[in-house]
Symmetry: C2
Subunit: 142 residues, 2 copies
Amino acid sequence: MSLTASLLTAATVLVDDIHSGVAARGYTDIRPTHGFVFSRLSEAGATVTEVAEHLGVTRQAASQIVDELVAKGYVERRPHPSDARARLVVLTERGVRCTWAAEDAAVDALESWEDILGEQRLLAMRDELVRLAPNGPLRPAW
Amino acid sequence: MSLTASLLTAATVLVDDIHSGVAARGYTDIRPTHGFVFSRLSEAGATVTEVAEHLGVTRQAASQIVDELVAKGYVERRPHPSDARARLVVLTERGVRCTWAAEDAAVDALESWEDILGEQRLLAMRDELVRLAPNGPLRPAW
DNA sequence: AATATATAGGCAAGAAGCTTGAGCAAGTTA
DNA sequence: TAACTTGCTCAAGCTTCTTGCCTATATATT
């Protein structure tokens, strides 16, 4: 099995597991893509353009995704503090609670991995992966 | 950056790079998904159902993808040797040459990664990833 | 052997989620 | 202040998936 295939299957399995865990915690109306958005917003929010770059999609697509998250109560659009053209997308309380649930789900999903490799090597792998692809997008589809 | 995010960005970057390399070698009418199909077929072919499981999509979707690959000359459907219901999907010569091009492109794409981590650790990472998720699907979208 | 059920595959319609194209408002440059 | 750029969004369209249904063959039951 190639590195490419093993990377992809590992990523797919992990994302699917976390997605199931998030759904089991009551958040059944969102997709993994939305989680990628949340992680971009969690620090201090972001503009639609920044979300688009993070996901590797067009600004229009990012805008639609944000629309959906607004409608479902996970995020809201605020005026941008320093640029009246832009709008700052930030997590609502519901959005924050959902990211907590996702972190919980990630811990659960990684438990079986820690049993196999141990926390040490898992962290080492993460560090190596970050060195290999520090700033890439999280494209939701191919 | 989390393990999940680093896994996904690394996989995304690698897939995008290989896809570009394959396109640069003249195969501009296929997507990464098709490459995942090729890798499943390369041994001894596979049924549509097996392709569907490999990709993590419905049988109908897999059938449509195979339709497209047949139309473009990369694969063909043959009667299955031991089950008259099933059909064996196999690579054509064009399909085989395309998988070669993909392997070339993968080597190119991995060069910069070898510069960063070295071949040893890259192979070690692959082994670890295989242990973590041996039989997962390569879902083309979330 | 006859019947019931399961499995492989595919057609058609529809939905999800992206892109392209166009346009407005606000910022930046000359 | 005029020209251009940037941030965003509306609308339309397209790609690619799913759902629902159907046929043919295989397998299990009686």
